[in-house]
């Protein structure tokens, strides 16, 4: 988190541009057979050359040992500690999905559940359906509703087993809505209620949604009802540009990353379909902004499937694109990730993320490489993600001195 007194030092120098190249799930762990991580295995001449002329280190995302989802991880590297931004659980889930959750939307966490004719919850998890069954149920409810309830757009985001997220999109929705989930089996569903008068209309929409969904699901042997909890909208945060004196743009192919960037007030550019289109967009819009968040998804996707050689290949795709980014001559070029996604985990992990900051003021080590182990030594040490932007400003000579 940038300290208020640090924020007072921020200078606006638009010609000193900063590019934050975000390789999703960048960090890895050694392959059991070779003892080398994905970064240590890949051929990365451009990235390693960059590392050798950069300040390097590793970045903690939340707290030591804590593995972040994508939403909280991005907030953290944009400088907003995810434990301090007040997120409702619904909003947190929606933001972590590949759905473009937007201001004004209302989200709730949901379970498929088994409910008897007297509204008593018999099984809060509807006997744990498969993920595929979950997707079928979401599609069935949505098509049954025709995608809308009383003019409010409904989105169902399937999750694991019985879990999913409901998003309501419409005019004047208010998040002060209480759960219908009694939290224990053998208890009755709680009718949805507004937590304050302004939420009365929203509560009516949610109740109508629930009764329609019950009707659509009535012949399902297990998943014949829904439990909703954690109603919430997007949190209000201090705009990124105000905080850092920047005119920031986000370039990302996936909705979730566009969503988090929009949440903090970045301008979201175009609709790139892949990394090549992202870099072309960066080139075209380069004169218009002084900060660019460029998101690359392939590394994380390969990490999730556990395909080691695919993650290696994705890293090499990025490496090949580096000269095009360098050709723009940004004052500061950062290469980092939002968390580690080691192939041996097939999931995010808490391991600090390899990070390099290339600038004329970098304190580099000529033998440094962009790998987990090489960057255990470096100018940046192990630092917190919420300090990344402050360091970026410093490297761009965009922070004045504190005191005479």
């Amino acid at each position: 988190m940038i300290h208020d007194k640090t924020r007072d030092l921020v200078l606006k120098i638009p010609e000193k541009k900063i590019i934050l190249l975000l390789l999703d799930g960048l960090g890895g762990l050694p392959h059991p057979e070779t003892g080398l991580s994905e970064l240590e295995t890949a051929k990365l001449p451009n990235l390693h050359r960059l590392a050798a002329t950069s300040s390097g280190g590793r970045m903690k995302m939340v707290e030591p040992g804590v593995t972040p989802g994508s939403g909280p991880a991005h907030l953290s590297l944009f400088g907003y500690h995810p434990y301090e931004v007040e997120f409702g659980r619904g909003a947190l889930e929606a933001l972590g999905s590949d759905f473009a959750f937007a201001r004004g939307d209302l989200a709730a966490r949901a379970n498929y559940a088994t409910i008897n004719v007297n509204d008593v919850v018999l099984d809060r998890r509807a006997a744990k359906p498969s993920d595929e069954e979950n997707r079928r149920l979401c599609a069935k409810v949505l098509s049954g509703l025709g995608g809308k309830v009383e003019g409010t757009q409904i989105y169902l985001l399937p999750g694991k087993e019985h879990r999913f997220t409901v998003v309501f999109r419409g005019e004047g929705l208010d998040a002060a809505i209480k759960d219908n989930d009694p939290q224990r089996e053998g208890r009755k569903l709680i009718p949805i209620e507004a937590g304050r008068p302004q939420a009365a209309a929203s509560a009516r929409v949610v109740n109508r949604f629930l009764s329609l969904a019950r009707e659509i699901l009535k012949d399902e042997p297990r998943a014949n009802g829904l439990l909703l909890r954690g109603f919430s909208g997007l949190p209000e945060v201090m705009p990124f540009n105000d905080r850092y004196g920047l005119n920031a743009a986000a370039i990302a192919a996936y909705p979730m990353y566009r969503g988090v960037a929009a949440l903090v007030g970045m301008t979201v550019l175009g609709s790139p379909k892949n990394f090549d289109e992202e870099i072309s967009l960066l080139e075209r819009k380069y004169v218009e902004h002084d900060f660019f968040f460029v998101h690359f998804k392939g590394t994380d996707a390969a990490g999730h499937t556990g395909d080691f050689l695919e993650k290696v290949r994705q890293l090499e795709i990025v490496d090949a694109m580096i000269p095009r980014i360098e050709a723009l001559k940004p004052e500061v070029l950062i290469v980092t990730g939002d968390h580690s996604t080691p192939c041996i985990c097939k999931e995010h992990s808490w391991h600090p993320v390899p990070t390099i900051i290339r600038s004329p003021l970098a304190l580099s080590r000529p033998d440094a490489k962009l790998t987990e182990r090489s960057l255990m030594v470096g100018d940046l040490g192990v630092f917190h993600a919420t300090d990344l932007l402050t360091l970026a400003l410093a490297h761009a000579s965009r922070l004045s001195k504190f005191g005479a």
Copy 2:
């Protein structure tokens, strides 16, 4: 300190066991002649092999530059910042001694002092007796009292020079008792008073203790009175098991370490006499718990005497025992210390403590050793002791992801 939001992520997976092997006073400093520390001098094939397959780093115990006593150091590595646990000075002293200070006990810091017939304090330090003289005085008072005052058990824990600790053990003792120490020479002793009605009976016991001690010491030329201050019992802390979702056991030969473990709510096992008995106990009780704190004292004891080769020998004793611990196949094996006790200091020091965490998710360096200088580089960097348990949970896959 584990954050509340991190605590919400804790999973209970009893089969993923964690062993914390604590080598008291582990860290050292180079021998002036060889330039090698105790760890660098010892032959430690097993510990170095572990280090090469572990996440490694060095652990700060309190604040940079602050040397902890044993009590605060252990609290810190159990995840309780010792500056934030509200300890009375008496309880802190008692907990730092080799006395098994327990819940319900009352402790006060004490001085031998010179007091005249009118109760005026002439010398608050009784001309600074030697440590040996201090021990003689404590023994004299204790035998004079027959070890008891009005049914309350009395323990006197000799300290350095004029300092010692008094512990009262009995039914219904209340810590709200004011000091009798006027803090300045030339002032009269303050009669002990209760700070609230419930402490009246305890205050009476303390006053009776003081007058009996005066009588016993009346022929001492200097140390003819006692000053007491900082009455306190054990602080209440959130139980370790609730905090980390563990079923923790402590294995330690010395009372003080058993006391701190009991304070945070660990089950203290058996009465082992030495390290071999400790490891046998670990083997016997291994199925019953999922977290084991195993304390080894020899390294610290050798550090205090300044016997470099003895500390080397103690390290080698531990090294030989490592295969027995590994044979239990814990998911996570941590080797660390509670502070450094360099032989050249003959005392604790503030230097960060070499630490390794061995698990399937460790980011290891094949050339790493369990030494102060080798672990200046490593996955863990320099981290705070209060984060050790959170990292242990992460390595045991016992923390869920924060946000989607």
